[in-house]
């Protein structure tokens, strides 16, 4: 019993929930800030394009929603060490790290692509479709991490 349910078992689960939201928010914050500087520089000349240019910021926000979902899932399953095995703690730590670092990578990609994309869209509006496609492919990186995290969570 004691080797299955050590006192430090829930520590890993808590760290998983924390790292899910921390790293996802880190990526989302970088994406928002980087794309936001591009929007601010672009809007000086083309203020009518602001609504189109908000899309990278919204997509970066969705990265944080991925982390939020996984953090809420893990937090709902946390419990006292008497009924929370170390194996569940490891599983939850892995799930949190999966969605966290995938969200960090996706947020970096969205920020850089969004910055260059909105600056380019101001000069060539036909770039918009390409920018959306690249942003979706960057967003899907975070979605892969979410899928792995949910799949781990069901173990």
């Amino acid at each position: 019993m004691a080797d299955q349910n050590p006192i430090y078992g829930p520590f890993f689960g808590v760290m998983g929930a924390a790292s899910a939201i921390i790293f996802s928010s880190l990526g989302a914050a970088y994406g928002t800030a980087k794309a936001g500087t591009g929007i601010a520089a672009m809007s000086v000349m083309r203020p009518e394009l602001i609504m189109k240019s908000i899309i990278p910021v919204v997509m970066a926000g969705i990265i944080a929603i991925y982390g939020l979902v996984v953090a809420v899932l893990i937090s709902g399953a946390l419990g006292d060490s008497t009924k929370y095995t170390a194996y569940k703690g490891f599983i939850h730590l892995g799930a949190g790290l999966a969605v966290g670092f995938s969200g960090l990578a996706a947020g970096f990609a969205i920020g850089i692509v969004g910055d260059a994309g909105v600056r380019g869209t101001a000069q060539q509006p036909r770039l918009f479709v390409g920018m959306i496609l690249i942003l979706i492919f960057a967003e899907v990186l975070g979605l892969y991490g979410l899928i792995v995290a949910i799949y781990l969570y069901t173990k």
Binding site: V44, E48, M51, I65, Y66
Partner: protein, 121 residues
């Protein structure tokens, strides 16, 4: 179509203080626009309302749909256990947020097409 970067040879423009680590040349401020320029664009309040509506939808709807589906649909009506209802609720929330995002992109795309013919230089 105006040339945005026509003044590259003069890097110390009026907005050079806004420069960040990006090496793209900072756009120069346009000539002071006359009052006739502001009449072509849609009212700012309408754009603000639209953006707030979609941002509210994208932020609130997934969280709402997660807890609604968890506690009412899967937990209450179907009576599945906790882990399964959590997973299905999370999937429902992610689907809802992507539907909201698709609606926002569609709106932004059609918005730009509607504004573009009015633009002149």
């Amino acid at each position: 179509m105006f040339n945005i970067n026509s003044n590259i040879s003069n890097p110390a423009g009026p907005f050079s203080q806004m420069s960040n680590t990006d090496s793209t040349p900072i756009m120069q401020a346009p000539e002071p626009a006359g009052p006739s320029n502001s009449g072509q664009e849609r009212p700012d309040l309408e754009v603000l309302t639209t953006v707030f509506y979609y941002c509210f939808t994208i932020i609130v709807m997934p969280v709402l749909s997660f807890f609604v589906t968890k506690h009412i649909v899967f937990g209450g009506m179907f009576g599945v256990d906790s882990v399964t209802s959590n997973v299905y609720s999370a999937i429902a929330a992610i689907i809802v947020v992507h539907i909201s995002l698709a609606m926002f992109i569609k709106r932004a795309y059609s918005e730009a097409d509607r504004v573009k013919p009015q633009k002149q230089d």
